[in-house]
């Protein structure tokens, strides 16, 4: 006979992600609600303001055109959610995000540098998916080397790291601006076309590459989720528990830079999206288990993005503004969070 289930409010003498059954139920309810919301918003984007009658041939043709946006949002939400939660765990810090630490500024420098050094004609030779993969690869290599060096050893101090990261982000941004000033108008035009990305006009040709790569990196993080749980205890406790802290952090940072390269190449920088969804996931899930945190962060990211996209596109008729609303909401949340917590 199985022992009777304990009362809802009573903890058992077992170790789990949640203390009480109540907490586990709350997590499941939140996940189901988010999933329903995600389905509703997806249906909304596909069907809202579709002039053809529902179910007709024409309806599905129009809906198909919008499926690309949904796919892009899926990739972006997945990348930002997994990258930010893993990055914050690896660095034992819940304030910094890959975006704040300059991962995206790095992407812009790589793009600008390509146009600057190769020129318009040189860049024209490497276009499409080749340049997408080349630039993503370059960004991954640079980011992994740079941040592994930065986050380990002498710069292990969080505050120095944050300062260096922010200055680095700003510095890379200035470097891009400087190079952009020296470009000829036609080269600058090409560059702008490359840097300008948003959900509305993301290049669908990248998706066949971005989806499997993002899935592979995300899957690797999922597979290492239990190590991530330990990593969140910090360097000394991780070493004590038998993991090579430096190697674990470098592996996580590599996977994070892969994810960031995919999303940035698709839709450009979204500074606060990752922070917003990671923070909401910590609040809603209220557990240290990454197998529970990561899917919730992903669902939250999808709901936030589709929600913003739906409202802007179909209610305000303002296409391409999604990043702006996310930055605004995310930036405000960031400020409120720091003000309330009062410390880093």
């Amino acid at each position: 006979m199985r022992p009777a289930a304990p009362p809802v409010g009573e903890p058992t003498r077992r170790t789990g992600a949640f203390v009480r059954r109540r907490d586990r139920i709350r997590y499941a309810v939140t996940m189901v609600a988010l999933a329903l919301l995600a389905v509703a918003l997806t249906a909304g984007i596909l069907a809202y303001d579709n002039p053809m009658p529902v179910g007709s041939d024409g309806f599905w043709r129009i809906a198909e055109l919008r499926v690309t946006s949904i796919a892009v949002i899926l990739v972006v939400a997945f990348c930002h959610a997994f990258a930010t939660v893993s990055f914050q765990t690896a660095t034992s810090n819940r304030i910094i995000t890959p975006s704040i630490m300059g991962f995206e500024a790095l992407y812009i420098v790589v793009q600008t540098g390509a146009v600057f050094f190769l020129g318009a004609s040189g860049v024209a030779m490497v276009t499409g998916t080749t340049q997408f993969l080349l630039q993503a690869g370059l960004m991954i290599v640079v980011a992994t080397i740079l941040y592994s060096w930065l986050l380990s050893g002498r710069f292990g101090n969080i505050h120095i790291m944050l300062l260096v990261g922010v200055i680095l982000g700003g510095g890379l941004g200035s470097l891009s601006t400087f190079m952009q000033r020296l470009l000829t108008p036609s080269e600058f035009d090409i560059l702008t076309a490359r840097l300008f990305g948003n959900i509305g006009n993301a290049d669908a040709a990248y998706l066949p590459y971005a989806v499997p790569i993002a899935l592979a990196a995300g899957g690797a993080l999922w597979w290492r989720a239990r190590r991530l749980d330990v990593l969140s205890l910090g360097r000394d406790a991780t070493t004590n528990l038998g993991l090579n802290h430096k190697r674990e952090v470098i592996v996580v940072l590599f996977l994070v830079s892969v994810l960031m390269a995919m999303t940035t190449a698709l839709v450009g920088p979204m500074t606060f999206l990752g922070f917003l969804v990671a923070m909401l996931a910590y609040q809603f899930a209220d557990t240290y288990h990454h197998r529970l945190l990561l899917p919730m962060a992903f669902l939250l990211g999808y709901v936030v993005l589709t929600g913003a996209y739906f409202v802007l596109r179909h209610v305000f008729y303002a296409q391409g503004m999604v990043t702006i609303i996310i930055e605004l909401v995310g930036g405000l949340t960031f400020l409120v969070y720091i003000m309330r917590k009062g410390r880093l």
Binding site: T15, G234, Y288
Partner: protein
Amino acid sequence: MIELTDVTKSYSTETLIGPLTTQIPAGGITALIGPNGAGKSTVLTMIGRLLGLDQGTITVAGHDVVHTPSRAVAKILSILRQENHFITRLTVRQLVGFGRFPHSHGRLTPDCERHISEAIDFLNLTGLEHRYLDELSGGQRQRAYVAMVLAQDTDYILLDEPLNNLDMQHSVQMMRQLRAAADELGRTVVIVLHDINFAARYADQIMAMNDGRITEFGPPERILTDETLSRVFHTPVKVIDGPDGPLAVYY
């Protein structure tokens, strides 16, 4: 047994630890004492492979701590630093559960749950096991950390100033529990202590360090003399007979 052979570590040209060659026997409590900056914590963290050595070798139970895979070392020794700050919100039981990671890699077995419960009970945290760490007092939290290294079920336990920030009552409790861990569970405890009287009362051996070198090593009764302590701590110390053995007076 913990063996140090010609171990050196330099922070700058002026501060050099070692060369140290010594043996800490298995079983019982060994206390590391000495003035600030003598290198006690450095030696402890080097034994616990949290800090690399410049030269020499350290073996614990015959295993070289630098070259043995970290995963294997985690089943032989556990180490607790002074400062512990976690970004995640954990309950006592969840924290103690992490101590089982070297054995279970995150998938807790019924055997793990038993070890966790035993460690929690051993440190009198049974009623608090589902409380979050940030809801506990400093003394309770310190006990939870010690429970985590106990649950790791290693023969060697290294603790860096576990009495820091504890009041009289909790310090005594902590030392009694460590004494019990050594006597009842057969663990080897190496501990950095600031209070020489705690070391004298509870430790089996005292290792005194000065300027990166081991200057004295022996049972408490041999270390607790006016002359030795005054030399180790660079301050006049008188040893008097207390009700439970010698007491150092230095106020």
